[in-house]
Amino acid sequence: MMDSNIIKKLEEIVGKDSLTTREEDLHCYSFDGTGKAYLPEVVAYPQNTEQVSNIMKLANEYNFAVVPRGAGSGMTGGAVPLKGGLVMAMSKLNRILEIDVDNQIAVVEPGVVTGDLQKEVKKVGLSYPPDPASLKYCTIGGNAAECAGGPSAVKYGVTKDFILGLEVVLPSGEILHTGARTEKSVTGYDLTRLFVGSEGTLGIITKIFARLLPLPVHKETFLVESTSLKAATEMVAKILNANITPRTLEYMDKTAISIVRDKLTNPPPETVEAMLLIELDGEETAVLAQTERMKALFAGLEDFTIKHAQTEEEVNDMWQARRSISPSTFNLRPNKISEDVAVPRSRIPELVEYTEKLAKEYGLIILTFGHAGDGNIHVNMMLDRSDIKQAMAGKKAVDLLFKHAVKLQGTLSGEHGIGISKAPYLTFELDETTIKVMKSLKQLFDPNNILNPGKIFPQTAE
């Protein structure tokens, strides 16, 4: 427990204005996108790296938990203060420190909103590609901690591919600098990629050297309707193997289509089993050439209708279908289990088939949609938790889904992370020795287990 002595010391570090213990404030920092909530005892808003370091030193001295937090939009409980203690809100470390146009690098603090960074670099003709669905409010620090993905990953890669270096405060309070301002560096161990995706369990990111790319100047958007799910997923491979690299290759199944139908200006016919949202970007000649090729792939195929957006309005309409899925799911049932397993692309049809089987057997409504281009499929199971039978069935179905994904050579999470929601399933994918090594790293970095405790690793094994 944190006594007034600790609170006083914390006030001395961050200033009275940058600390709160008021219950109504604490509630705002208790939950994330999972809906799971645990109340912290105090929220601190550091304004510089030194303060972060001093808080960690204090946490070690008085043995309280510290949970770094960006916007709290995580999907697996990464920012939830499971063991109480202190939530370190990064909202005051939110400056873009530098945009180096010549070397295409941005130096930013962790609290910068991803969308804001994208807007700023766009002004100088550059882009920061990672685009998680939450980009309008999530922070780059949170993205780095979780190694966030997004639709553009199929062409550009995920967050780890856009981080050149980091400033990190270790649980001991020591300040570490990793990586370099160069595209290539093999000087020492690659700690940058180790911290990225470590879900705030190994260190607190206080500065990020982000890699930028030239802004793509041209874009074409397509919506493909298919009367066969299998044909649609096979088409994904055909497109990618035809030397076409879309920036977006999203798919949605029949259930997903059915819930967004009434939001569309031109809803697809009832016979449509799957839709693909495809976007090409880059230099104009290249985009137009790829457009021709892609249209040629669909020519004469009865299973498919391809629509090519001609106006910005049509583009928005096409995206409307994809964007409306998540919010519309709750029209089906009040609760959702949202998973983001990834499988090798050729196994997508098997995965989808299996979810249909699960839905039938367990009386759940299951929809699948997402990043077909990289095999990262969002499986949403809709249920009513107040119905104990459904709640139990949901739990069982998740268990089976993970087992099956691993059996298909897939992984538990493509972009959301493990956090608390997937920790119990870690052993499905990683063997005991590997988990032991990961835990020994955690132990090495954070011997007192004060930094974001209770995440990633199954609790029973502790």
Binding site: A180, T182, T187, G188, D190
Partner: protein
Amino acid sequence: MLSKTAKEQLIAITGKDRFSDAVEILTCYSYDSFLEEAMPEAVLFPVSTKEVSEILQVASAHKIPVTARGAGTSVCGAPIAVNQGIVLCFTKMDKIIEINTPDRYAIVQPGVINGELQRALAPEGFFFPPDPGSMNFSTIGGNVALNAGGPRCLKYGVTVDYVLSMEVVLASGEVIRFGSRNIKDVTGYKLSALFCGSEGTLGIITELTLRVVPCPETAQTLMVTFDELDNTAKSVSDIIGSGILPVAIELVDKVGMNALENALHQDLPTEAAGTLLIEVDGIKESCEREIEKITDILKKNHAVSIIKATEEADRNRLWAARRAAYGVFAKIAPDILSEDVTVPVSKVPEMVRSINSTIGKYKLKGGVLAHAGDGNMHPFICADRNDKEEWAKVEAAFKEIFTDAAALHGTLSGEHGIGLAKTQFLPLVMDEASRKFLTTIKRAVDPDNILNPGKLV
């Protein structure tokens, strides 16, 4: 010395055929492409993960240093057994286990030669992008251990970007597996990042799942000459700044080009102060458009001549000289020291100037090659190590080059690794806390310091 018991236990694992402590054999495993040499006490040729695990259990019990070795092409001394002990040579673990083009991965043992993997992928229309200069003889295991780069890494990224999953034997002999066959995977810590590039100091790689990508349908190559090195370097930063991402932009200076011509007689542009080799790939229409744009930039920067090659044979001809570079330079003098400092791309002109002025100041024979598009410079100096006075100058020159690169926000090594060669210079680019932390990790993973001791940290 390897005790009798240890030796017996090791032979019991591999059999007599795959164990050797004969001096004439050990000598072959005492060096790489760097300058140092050290004789191991024994060399073993495991054929399976199980054998590697058993060998490490013996090594742990007797605290015998273990140095993993692929083809020994490292240029930083990474596979040199400086503390003796045993060399684990992976030439017999050289199988391609699976190639899966629909899901775009290949599963290989560490001893597979990079070039062989390329040849196995080519008929399927795929390739493995990392292309170190040694690709025709270096092994994938060595490439991953050192996080190797190469010319086309400018567009495609380096080795770590292509490692999906690894099987690694720890110092204790325990076997761990992490990653999966999926491009997106955030399950647990990214251990592949830690082990890739760790130069055999954290674990021994026994199997790799690698990402492979489809071959581009076309490529075009330009050879461009300049009468000023500054214009050459400026063109590089202008091209990158314009938003085009070529596969490779290689820079060769006058010293380098003359050495190449003397050895190869290919009618190379020996008068040019700087020469660029630029390649773009992708779909035909965009290649052409990119070449047009690049040509405009080159002309603005006063390019003297521009030769374009579209056919594969012609492109190979342009590349032949660049690919031969290391071998040619190594013959200029008894020894060659080639480093790979890397700077942000806008600093390429400044770094090239600074390297040349340093080499000039010490009156040494040398010059600069570079994977210029990603700022990865290869300054080289040819000298005789037995000439103590001259060699002292070589060392002083490189110290200056490292210092200058660090001052330009650069790093010591872009692709070769730290190994033996550069440990002393780490303080230039890494503060004490960060250096100490590398050691902390090393100690935690390998408490008895038996894995490739004396390297990297």
